[in-house]
Protein backbone atom coordinates (compact mmCIF):
# COMPACT_ATOMS: atom_id res chain seq x y z
CA UNK A 1 0.00 0.00 0.00
CA UNK A 2 1.69 3.09 -1.21
CA UNK A 3 1.19 6.71 -0.37
CA UNK A 4 0.65 7.42 -4.08
CA UNK A 5 -2.66 5.60 -3.94
CA UNK A 6 -4.13 8.76 -2.51
CA UNK A 7 -3.19 10.51 -5.71
CA UNK A 8 -6.42 9.00 -6.96
CA UNK A 9 -9.03 11.73 -6.36
CA UNK A 10 -11.74 9.34 -5.27
CA UNK A 11 -9.55 7.58 -2.73
CA UNK A 12 -8.25 10.92 -1.57
CA UNK A 13 -11.77 12.19 -1.00
CA UNK A 14 -12.73 9.08 0.93
CA UNK A 15 -9.69 9.37 3.17
CA UNK A 16 -10.03 13.08 3.75
CA UNK A 17 -13.68 12.68 4.67
CA UNK A 18 -12.68 10.24 7.37
CA UNK A 19 -9.76 12.32 8.65
CA UNK A 20 -11.30 15.78 8.50
CA UNK A 21 -13.58 15.65 11.58
CA UNK A 22 -10.62 14.58 13.68
CA UNK A 23 -8.45 17.35 12.30
CA UNK A 24 -11.10 20.00 12.92
CA UNK A 25 -11.71 18.72 16.44
CA UNK A 26 -8.06 18.36 17.42
CA UNK A 27 -7.10 21.76 16.05
CA UNK A 28 -10.01 23.37 17.90
CA UNK A 29 -8.97 21.69 21.15
CA UNK A 30 -5.31 22.67 20.72
CA UNK A 31 -6.18 26.25 19.82
CA UNK A 32 -8.70 26.78 22.58
CA UNK A 33 -6.53 25.21 25.28
CA UNK A 34 -3.35 26.87 23.97
CA UNK A 35 -4.86 30.33 23.63
CA UNK A 36 -6.75 30.27 26.94
CA UNK A 37 -3.67 28.95 28.70
CA UNK A 38 -1.46 31.50 26.99
CA UNK A 39 -3.76 34.49 27.45
CA UNK A 40 -4.96 33.92 31.01
CA UNK A 41 -2.61 31.56 32.81
CA UNK A 42 0.86 32.82 31.97
CA UNK A 43 2.62 35.68 33.74
CA UNK A 44 3.27 38.97 31.95
CA UNK A 45 6.73 39.37 30.49
CA UNK A 46 8.95 41.53 32.70
CA UNK A 47 9.83 43.81 29.81
CA UNK A 48 7.01 43.52 27.34
CA UNK A 49 4.09 43.32 29.75
CA UNK A 50 0.90 41.66 28.56
CA UNK A 51 1.48 42.60 24.92
CA UNK A 52 3.77 39.60 24.66
CA UNK A 53 0.72 37.38 24.62
CA UNK A 54 0.06 38.12 20.98
CA UNK A 55 2.95 35.75 20.40
CA UNK A 56 0.40 32.91 20.56
CA UNK A 57 -1.12 34.10 17.32
CA UNK A 58 1.86 35.77 15.72
CA UNK A 59 4.46 33.01 15.80
CA UNK A 60 2.21 30.13 14.68
CA UNK A 61 0.68 32.13 11.82
CA UNK A 62 4.10 33.29 10.66
CA UNK A 63 5.36 29.72 10.71
CA UNK A 64 2.38 28.49 8.73
CA UNK A 65 2.67 31.34 6.24
CA UNK A 66 6.10 30.05 5.25
CA UNK A 67 5.23 26.38 5.55
CA UNK A 68 2.17 26.83 3.34
CA UNK A 69 4.42 28.14 0.57
CA UNK A 70 6.79 25.26 1.18
CA UNK A 71 3.91 22.82 0.90
CA UNK A 72 2.87 24.44 -2.38
CA UNK A 73 6.41 24.05 -3.63
CA UNK A 74 6.47 20.33 -2.81
CA UNK A 75 2.99 19.83 -4.31
CA UNK A 76 4.06 21.71 -7.46
CA UNK A 77 7.13 19.51 -7.80
CA UNK A 78 5.00 16.39 -7.44
CA UNK A 79 2.65 17.69 -10.12
CA UNK A 80 5.53 18.46 -12.48
CA UNK A 81 7.22 15.09 -11.95
CA UNK A 82 4.33 12.68 -11.46
CA UNK A 83 1.35 14.65 -12.75
CA UNK A 84 -1.06 13.74 -9.98
CA UNK A 85 -4.04 16.06 -10.22
CA UNK A 86 -4.67 15.99 -6.49
CA UNK A 87 -1.23 17.43 -5.93
CA UNK A 88 -1.82 20.42 -8.19
CA UNK A 89 -5.21 21.02 -6.61
CA UNK A 90 -3.72 20.82 -3.12
CA UNK A 91 -1.20 23.50 -4.08
CA UNK A 92 -4.04 25.63 -5.36
CA UNK A 93 -6.04 24.99 -2.19
CA UNK A 94 -3.14 25.91 0.10
CA UNK A 95 -2.47 29.33 -1.43
CA UNK A 96 -5.42 31.27 0.03
CA UNK A 97 -4.79 29.67 3.42
CA UNK A 98 -1.18 30.83 3.15
CA UNK A 99 -2.31 34.35 2.29
CA UNK A 100 -4.53 34.53 5.33
CA UNK A 101 -1.72 33.21 7.55
CA UNK A 102 0.60 35.86 6.11
CA UNK A 103 -1.98 38.55 6.77
CA UNK A 104 -2.53 37.36 10.34
CA UNK A 105 1.22 37.41 10.91
CA UNK A 106 1.52 40.89 9.45
CA UNK A 107 -1.40 42.31 11.43
CA UNK A 108 -0.53 40.72 14.75
CA UNK A 109 3.04 41.86 14.14
CA UNK A 110 1.85 45.42 13.66
CA UNK A 111 -0.26 45.25 16.80
CA UNK A 112 2.71 43.90 18.71
CA UNK A 113 5.12 46.35 17.17
CA UNK A 114 3.12 49.42 18.08
CA UNK A 115 3.69 49.28 21.87
CA UNK A 116 7.15 47.71 21.55
CA UNK A 117 8.79 49.78 18.83
CA UNK A 118 6.41 52.73 18.88
CA UNK A 119 5.39 52.12 15.27
CA UNK A 120 2.85 49.97 13.43
CA UNK A 121 5.16 49.28 10.61
CA UNK A 122 8.90 49.38 10.09
CA UNK A 123 10.84 48.32 7.01
CA UNK A 124 12.51 45.65 9.01
CA UNK A 125 13.88 42.67 7.02
CA UNK A 126 11.45 40.18 8.52
CA UNK A 127 8.44 42.38 8.06
CA UNK A 128 9.50 43.28 4.57
CA UNK A 129 10.10 39.66 3.65
CA UNK A 130 6.60 38.80 4.76
CA UNK A 131 5.17 41.60 2.70
CA UNK A 132 7.06 40.25 -0.32
CA UNK A 133 5.83 36.74 0.45
CA UNK A 134 2.32 38.18 0.46
CA UNK A 135 2.90 39.61 -3.02
CA UNK A 136 4.13 36.24 -4.25
CA UNK A 137 0.97 34.60 -2.94
CA UNK A 138 -1.17 37.18 -4.69
CA UNK A 139 0.56 36.62 -8.02
CA UNK A 140 0.29 32.86 -7.67
CA UNK A 141 -3.44 32.98 -6.92
CA UNK A 142 -4.10 35.53 -9.65
CA UNK A 143 -2.41 33.27 -12.21
CA UNK A 144 -4.56 30.31 -11.16
CA UNK A 145 -7.69 32.41 -11.49
CA UNK A 146 -6.72 33.84 -14.87
CA UNK A 147 -6.33 30.58 -16.77
CA UNK A 148 -9.32 28.54 -17.80
CA UNK A 149 -7.82 25.18 -18.68
CA UNK A 150 -7.01 23.49 -15.36
CA UNK A 151 -4.00 21.50 -16.62
CA UNK A 152 -2.43 24.54 -18.24
CA UNK A 153 -3.04 26.52 -15.07
CA UNK A 154 -1.48 23.76 -12.98
CA UNK A 155 1.61 23.66 -15.19
CA UNK A 156 2.10 27.41 -15.27
CA UNK A 157 1.51 27.97 -11.57
CA UNK A 158 3.86 25.12 -10.68
CA UNK A 159 6.69 26.67 -12.62
CA UNK A 160 5.84 30.08 -11.17
CA UNK A 161 5.99 28.53 -7.71
CA UNK A 162 9.47 27.12 -8.41
CA UNK A 163 10.82 30.35 -9.85
CA UNK A 164 9.05 32.33 -7.14
CA UNK A 165 10.67 30.25 -4.42
CA UNK A 166 14.14 31.01 -5.74
CA UNK A 167 13.35 34.71 -5.89
CA UNK A 168 11.66 34.73 -2.51
CA UNK A 169 14.82 33.29 -0.93
CA UNK A 170 16.91 35.75 -2.90
CA UNK A 171 14.69 38.60 -1.72
CA UNK A 172 15.09 37.45 1.87
CA UNK A 173 18.87 37.80 1.61
CA UNK A 174 18.66 41.01 -0.35
CA UNK A 175 16.35 42.51 2.25
CA UNK A 176 18.69 41.45 5.04
CA UNK A 177 21.52 43.16 3.27
CA UNK A 178 19.42 46.25 2.68
CA UNK A 179 18.37 46.87 6.26
CA UNK A 180 19.38 45.29 9.54
CA UNK A 181 16.22 45.42 11.52
CA UNK A 182 14.37 45.93 14.75
CA UNK A 183 12.75 42.53 14.94
CA UNK A 184 13.77 40.35 17.87
CA UNK A 185 15.55 37.08 17.17
CA UNK A 186 13.65 33.89 16.53
CA UNK A 187 11.29 33.00 19.33
CA UNK A 188 11.87 29.32 18.80
CA UNK A 189 14.79 27.40 17.50
CA UNK A 190 16.18 23.99 18.04
CA UNK A 191 19.84 24.83 18.39
CA UNK A 192 19.82 28.01 20.42
CA UNK A 193 19.92 28.53 24.16
CA UNK A 194 17.88 31.68 24.24
CA UNK A 195 14.44 30.30 23.55
CA UNK A 196 11.49 31.94 25.17
CA UNK A 197 11.00 30.82 28.76
CA UNK A 198 9.19 27.57 29.50
CA UNK A 199 6.05 29.20 30.87
CA UNK A 200 5.44 30.78 27.48
CA UNK A 201 6.88 27.86 25.58
CA UNK A 202 4.36 25.16 26.38
CA UNK A 203 1.18 27.01 25.44
CA UNK A 204 3.00 28.31 22.38
CA UNK A 205 3.74 24.77 21.24
CA UNK A 206 0.06 23.92 21.68
CA UNK A 207 -0.95 26.91 19.60
CA UNK A 208 1.51 25.95 16.89
CA UNK A 209 0.13 22.41 16.87
CA UNK A 210 -3.35 23.89 16.62
CA UNK A 211 -2.38 26.07 13.65
CA UNK A 212 -0.68 23.15 11.90
CA UNK A 213 -3.77 20.98 12.35
CA UNK A 214 -6.02 23.84 11.27
CA UNK A 215 -3.88 24.34 8.19
CA UNK A 216 -4.11 20.66 7.24
CA UNK A 217 -7.84 20.65 7.85
CA UNK A 218 -8.38 23.74 5.71
CA UNK A 219 -6.16 22.46 2.91
CA UNK A 220 -7.80 19.03 2.89
CA UNK A 221 -11.22 20.60 2.93
CA UNK A 222 -10.40 23.03 0.13
CA UNK A 223 -8.69 20.33 -1.91
CA UNK A 224 -11.86 18.27 -1.56
CA UNK A 225 -13.85 21.21 -2.91
CA UNK A 226 -11.47 21.61 -5.85
CA UNK A 227 -11.73 17.90 -6.61
CA UNK A 228 -15.52 18.10 -6.60
CA UNK A 229 -15.37 21.08 -8.97
CA UNK A 230 -13.23 19.09 -11.36
CA UNK A 231 -15.48 16.09 -10.98
CA UNK A 232 -18.48 18.18 -11.89
CA UNK A 233 -16.62 19.47 -14.91
CA UNK A 234 -15.73 15.95 -15.99
CA UNK A 235 -19.31 14.79 -15.56
CA UNK A 236 -20.65 17.71 -17.58
CA UNK A 237 -18.11 16.99 -20.31
CA UNK A 238 -19.23 13.37 -20.43
CA UNK A 239 -22.94 14.17 -20.44
CA UNK A 240 -22.39 16.77 -23.12
CA UNK A 241 -20.74 14.25 -25.36
CA UNK A 242 -23.39 11.62 -24.80
CA UNK A 243 -26.14 14.03 -25.71
Amino acid sequence: MSLWEYANPVKFLRLSERVLPWLWGLSAVCLVVGLVWGFFFTPDDFRQGSTVKIIYLHVPSALMAINAWFMMLVASLIWIVRRHHVSALAARAAAPVGVVMTLIALFTGAIWGQPMWGTWWAWDPRLTSFLILFLFYLGYIALWEAIEDPDTAADLTSILCLVGTVFAVLSRYAVNFWNQGLHQGASLSLDKEENVADVFYQPLLLCIAGFVLLFFALVLYRTGTEIRVRRTRALIAREGKLA
Binding site: V10, H85, D151, R233, A234, A237, K241
Partner: protein, 204 residues
Protein backbone atom coordinates in the same frame (compact mmCIF):
# COMPACT_ATOMS: atom_id res chain seq x y z
CA UNK B 1 11.10 9.25 -45.84
CA UNK B 2 7.61 8.81 -44.62
CA UNK B 3 5.33 10.39 -42.08
CA UNK B 4 3.57 7.68 -40.12
CA UNK B 5 0.81 8.27 -37.63
CA UNK B 6 -0.29 5.33 -35.54
CA UNK B 7 -3.38 5.14 -33.37
CA UNK B 8 -3.16 8.83 -32.56
CA UNK B 9 -5.50 10.48 -30.09
CA UNK B 10 -5.62 14.25 -29.74
CA UNK B 11 -7.55 16.56 -27.46
CA UNK B 12 -8.43 20.16 -26.92
CA UNK B 13 -8.26 21.56 -23.40
CA UNK B 14 -7.89 18.08 -21.93
CA UNK B 15 -11.01 16.78 -23.71
CA UNK B 16 -10.33 14.10 -26.34
CA UNK B 17 -11.47 15.09 -29.83
CA UNK B 18 -10.11 12.43 -32.15
CA UNK B 19 -8.91 8.92 -31.37
CA UNK B 20 -7.45 6.02 -33.27
CA UNK B 21 -6.20 8.07 -36.22
CA UNK B 22 -3.69 6.17 -38.35
CA UNK B 23 -2.24 6.96 -41.75
CA UNK B 24 1.01 7.01 -43.64
CA UNK B 25 2.24 9.70 -45.99
CA UNK B 26 5.08 8.86 -48.37
CA UNK B 27 7.26 11.14 -50.46
CA UNK B 28 5.38 12.62 -53.39
CA UNK B 29 1.97 12.09 -51.79
CA UNK B 30 -0.77 14.44 -50.69
CA UNK B 31 -3.33 13.61 -48.06
CA UNK B 32 -6.38 15.83 -47.73
CA UNK B 33 -8.18 15.93 -44.39
CA UNK B 34 -11.91 16.43 -44.46
CA UNK B 35 -14.55 16.75 -41.82
CA UNK B 36 -17.10 19.21 -40.49
CA UNK B 37 -16.08 22.27 -38.47
CA UNK B 38 -14.96 21.39 -34.98
CA UNK B 39 -14.20 17.82 -35.96
CA UNK B 40 -10.61 18.22 -34.78
CA UNK B 41 -8.68 18.80 -38.00
CA UNK B 42 -6.80 21.79 -36.59
CA UNK B 43 -6.02 19.97 -33.36
CA UNK B 44 -4.72 16.98 -35.31
CA UNK B 45 -2.51 19.17 -37.48
CA UNK B 46 -1.13 21.11 -34.50
CA UNK B 47 -0.32 17.84 -32.84
CA UNK B 48 1.50 16.50 -35.90
CA UNK B 49 3.38 19.81 -36.19
CA UNK B 50 4.60 19.25 -32.65
CA UNK B 51 2.76 22.17 -31.05
CA UNK B 52 0.88 19.93 -28.66
CA UNK B 53 1.38 16.52 -27.18
CA UNK B 54 -0.69 13.61 -28.43
CA UNK B 55 -2.92 12.03 -25.78
CA UNK B 56 -2.03 8.60 -27.13
CA UNK B 57 -0.36 7.03 -30.13
CA UNK B 58 2.78 7.72 -32.12
CA UNK B 59 3.92 10.11 -34.80
CA UNK B 60 7.04 9.02 -36.68
CA UNK B 61 9.05 11.03 -39.16
CA UNK B 62 7.85 14.46 -38.10
CA UNK B 63 10.83 15.66 -36.10
CA UNK B 64 12.38 18.74 -37.74
CA UNK B 65 10.81 17.93 -41.08
CA UNK B 66 7.56 19.81 -40.95
CA UNK B 67 6.63 23.19 -42.32
CA UNK B 68 3.39 24.25 -40.69
CA UNK B 69 0.93 26.88 -41.85
CA UNK B 70 -2.33 27.75 -40.16
CA UNK B 71 -4.97 30.46 -40.20
CA UNK B 72 -2.52 33.10 -38.99
CA UNK B 73 0.42 33.75 -41.27
CA UNK B 74 2.80 35.24 -38.73
CA UNK B 75 3.50 38.19 -41.01
CA UNK B 76 4.89 41.45 -39.71
CA UNK B 77 2.98 44.35 -41.19
CA UNK B 78 5.90 46.73 -40.70
CA UNK B 79 8.25 44.59 -42.80
CA UNK B 80 8.23 44.35 -46.58
CA UNK B 81 7.24 41.22 -48.43
CA UNK B 82 10.86 40.39 -49.20
CA UNK B 83 11.95 41.03 -45.60
CA UNK B 84 9.23 38.79 -44.23
CA UNK B 85 10.29 35.95 -46.48
CA UNK B 86 14.00 36.48 -45.92
CA UNK B 87 13.42 36.32 -42.18
CA UNK B 88 11.75 32.94 -42.34
CA UNK B 89 14.39 31.69 -44.76
CA UNK B 90 17.09 32.68 -42.28
CA UNK B 91 15.25 31.06 -39.37
CA UNK B 92 15.17 27.80 -41.31
CA UNK B 93 18.82 28.19 -42.31
CA UNK B 94 18.05 28.95 -45.97
CA UNK B 95 18.96 31.96 -48.03
CA UNK B 96 17.19 32.08 -51.41
CA UNK B 97 13.70 33.54 -51.53
CA UNK B 98 13.54 33.98 -55.31
CA UNK B 99 11.95 30.64 -56.04
CA UNK B 100 9.22 31.27 -53.51
CA UNK B 101 8.56 34.78 -54.84
CA UNK B 102 8.17 33.38 -58.35
CA UNK B 103 5.98 30.49 -57.28
CA UNK B 104 3.47 32.80 -55.63
CA UNK B 105 3.85 35.70 -58.04
CA UNK B 106 5.10 38.10 -55.40
CA UNK B 107 7.87 39.88 -57.33
CA UNK B 108 5.71 42.92 -58.08
CA UNK B 109 4.91 43.29 -54.40
CA UNK B 110 8.31 42.63 -52.96
CA UNK B 111 8.96 46.13 -51.58
CA UNK B 112 5.45 46.65 -50.29
CA UNK B 113 4.91 46.44 -46.56
CA UNK B 114 2.96 43.37 -45.57
CA UNK B 115 0.48 45.61 -43.75
CA UNK B 116 -0.58 47.15 -47.08
CA UNK B 117 -1.38 43.83 -48.76
CA UNK B 118 -4.88 42.55 -49.33
CA UNK B 119 -6.01 39.47 -47.45
CA UNK B 120 -5.38 37.23 -50.45
CA UNK B 121 -1.92 38.68 -51.07
CA UNK B 122 -1.05 38.14 -47.40
CA UNK B 123 -2.14 34.56 -47.70
CA UNK B 124 0.08 34.10 -50.75
CA UNK B 125 3.00 35.51 -48.82
CA UNK B 126 2.20 33.22 -45.90
CA UNK B 127 2.19 30.21 -48.22
CA UNK B 128 5.39 31.32 -49.94
CA UNK B 129 6.99 30.90 -46.54
CA UNK B 130 6.54 27.15 -46.95
CA UNK B 131 8.78 27.13 -49.99
CA UNK B 132 11.64 28.95 -48.27
CA UNK B 133 11.65 26.59 -45.29
CA UNK B 134 12.91 23.76 -47.52
CA UNK B 135 11.19 21.25 -45.26
CA UNK B 136 9.88 18.03 -46.85
CA UNK B 137 6.48 17.72 -45.14
CA UNK B 138 3.97 20.54 -45.44
CA UNK B 139 1.24 20.54 -42.83
CA UNK B 140 -1.41 23.02 -43.90
CA UNK B 141 -4.59 24.13 -42.18
CA UNK B 142 -7.11 25.65 -44.61
CA UNK B 143 -4.43 27.12 -46.88
CA UNK B 144 -6.83 28.50 -49.48
CA UNK B 145 -8.85 30.82 -47.24
CA UNK B 146 -9.24 34.23 -48.95
CA UNK B 147 -7.44 33.11 -52.14
CA UNK B 148 -9.04 33.80 -55.53
CA UNK B 149 -9.20 31.12 -58.24
CA UNK B 150 -5.94 32.19 -59.87
CA UNK B 151 -4.11 32.13 -56.55
CA UNK B 152 -5.53 28.71 -55.72
CA UNK B 153 -4.09 27.50 -59.00
CA UNK B 154 -0.71 29.02 -58.08
CA UNK B 155 -0.90 27.25 -54.76
CA UNK B 156 -1.79 23.92 -56.37
CA UNK B 157 1.16 24.32 -58.72
CA UNK B 158 3.44 25.02 -55.77
CA UNK B 159 2.24 21.87 -54.06
CA UNK B 160 2.83 19.88 -57.24
CA UNK B 161 6.35 21.24 -57.54
CA UNK B 162 6.95 20.38 -53.89
CA UNK B 163 5.78 16.81 -54.48
CA UNK B 164 7.85 16.45 -57.62
CA UNK B 165 10.89 17.45 -55.58
CA UNK B 166 10.22 14.56 -53.22
CA UNK B 167 8.10 16.40 -50.67
CA UNK B 168 4.77 15.48 -49.14
CA UNK B 169 1.78 17.45 -47.91
CA UNK B 170 -0.99 17.03 -45.39
CA UNK B 171 -3.77 19.52 -46.07
CA UNK B 172 -7.02 20.27 -44.30
CA UNK B 173 -9.26 21.89 -46.90
CA UNK B 174 -12.78 21.98 -48.20
CA UNK B 175 -12.14 22.88 -51.81
CA UNK B 176 -10.88 20.67 -54.58
CA UNK B 177 -7.32 21.63 -55.41
CA UNK B 178 -7.16 19.46 -58.51
CA UNK B 179 -4.41 17.40 -56.96
CA UNK B 180 -4.13 13.66 -57.16
CA UNK B 181 -4.70 13.33 -53.44
CA UNK B 182 -5.72 10.71 -50.95
CA UNK B 183 -8.59 11.73 -48.70
CA UNK B 184 -8.92 11.09 -44.99
CA UNK B 185 -12.28 11.88 -43.43
CA UNK B 186 -11.72 12.51 -39.72
CA UNK B 187 -15.39 12.19 -38.74
CA UNK B 188 -15.22 8.42 -38.03
CA UNK B 189 -12.37 9.02 -35.61
CA UNK B 190 -14.39 11.25 -33.32
CA UNK B 191 -13.36 10.28 -29.81
CA UNK B 192 -15.91 8.33 -27.82
CA UNK B 193 -16.35 9.13 -24.16
CA UNK B 194 -14.21 6.32 -22.85
CA UNK B 195 -11.90 5.95 -25.83
CA UNK B 196 -9.09 7.96 -24.29
CA UNK B 197 -8.15 8.90 -20.78
CA UNK B 198 -8.73 12.60 -20.69
CA UNK B 199 -7.26 14.68 -17.92
CA UNK B 200 -10.66 14.89 -16.26
CA UNK B 201 -11.17 11.16 -16.46
CA UNK B 202 -9.34 10.63 -13.18
CA UNK B 203 -12.11 12.46 -11.38
CA UNK B 204 -14.96 10.22 -12.47
Amino acid sequence: MELTVTDLAVGRGGVPVLAGVSFALAAGEVLVLRGPNGAGKTTLLRCIAGLQEPMAGQIAGAEDRIAYAAHADGLKSALTVAENLAFWAAVFGQSGIDQAMTAFDLHDLQDRRAGQLSAGQKRRLGLARLVVTDRPVWVLDEPTVSLDAASVALFADAVRAHLAAGGAALIATHIDLGLDAGVLDVAPFRARVDAVRSSDEAFL
